[in-house]
């Protein structure tokens, strides 16, 4: 049997790897990928708590499903923005997207 803490530590590690990627990468698409990793880590936590603390309640899995929908919407709109920016400015590097920077 696997103790709960293993899953939580794994999720924490995955989340921090994603966090590093989201903060450090220059390519905006890579940042989106890192955010997907973070959302996955969150999902692991939700499902692990569902399994260990209340397997008769549906809330853990229902929340995870909503996270899937949110992740998909986020990726869809984010990538559309990337395409739009690339068409206008021929770059998706985050430091170069600075039109709004004062």
């Amino acid at each position: 049997m696997i103790p709960l803490s293993w899953f939580l530590i794994f999720a924490a590690l995955l989340f921090c790897v994603g966090l590093y990627g989201a903060l450090a990468r220059r390519n905006a698409i890579a940042i989106l990928m890192a955010i997907e990793l973070m959302l996955n880590a969150v999902n692991i936590n939700l499902v692990a708590f569902w399994r260990y603390l209340g397997p008769e309640a549906v809330s853990g899995q229902a929340f995870a499903l909503v996270v899937f929908a949110v992740a998909a919407s986020e990726a869809a709109v984010g990538l559309a923005l990337m395409i739009s920016i690339y068409r206008r400015r021929h770059t998706v590097a985050v430091e170069e997207i600075d039109m709004m920077k004062w």
Partner: protein
């Protein structure tokens, strides 16, 4: 509980292993005489010009986008379909509303002319 999944994992492994073995046998049996012309990019004899990663048209993104949206829709509806027998009429109609909202999205894409293959 997890027993059927062991079989699934094994079958997926076998599905990778058998073609792998076949390709390995091919590698053992086949001649190996590489040369520059043979390994160059094949374009029916014409010299390759420019780089491989040509600019693709953006419409491909739209298809992927609509696919993602409807995939999530199907994922939400599968548990509903499983529970169908135990649902009351209003619950079925809620799912119909769910489908209609997404159909409205598809109709918008159609009106916008996104679905034309250009």
């Amino acid at each position: 509980m997890l027993e059927p999944w062991i079989f699934v994992a094994l079958l997926l492994g076998v599905g990778m292993l058998l073609p792998g073995v076949a390709i390995a046998a091919n590698w053992l049996l086949s001649p190996k005489k590489p040369n520059a012309i043979k390994q160059s990019t094949y374009e029916c004899g014409i010299e390759t010009v420019g780089e491989t990663y040509v600019q693709l048209k953006g419409a491909y993104y739209i298809y992927a986008l609509i696919f993602v949206v409807f995939d999530i829709e199907a994922v939400f509806l599968f548990p509903w379909a499983v529970a169908y027998d135990k649902l009351q009429l209003y619950m079925v109609l809620e799912a119909v509303l769910f489908i209609v909202i997404l159909a409205a999205g598809l109709a918008y894409a159609w009106r916008k002319g996104v679905l034309e293959w250009v």
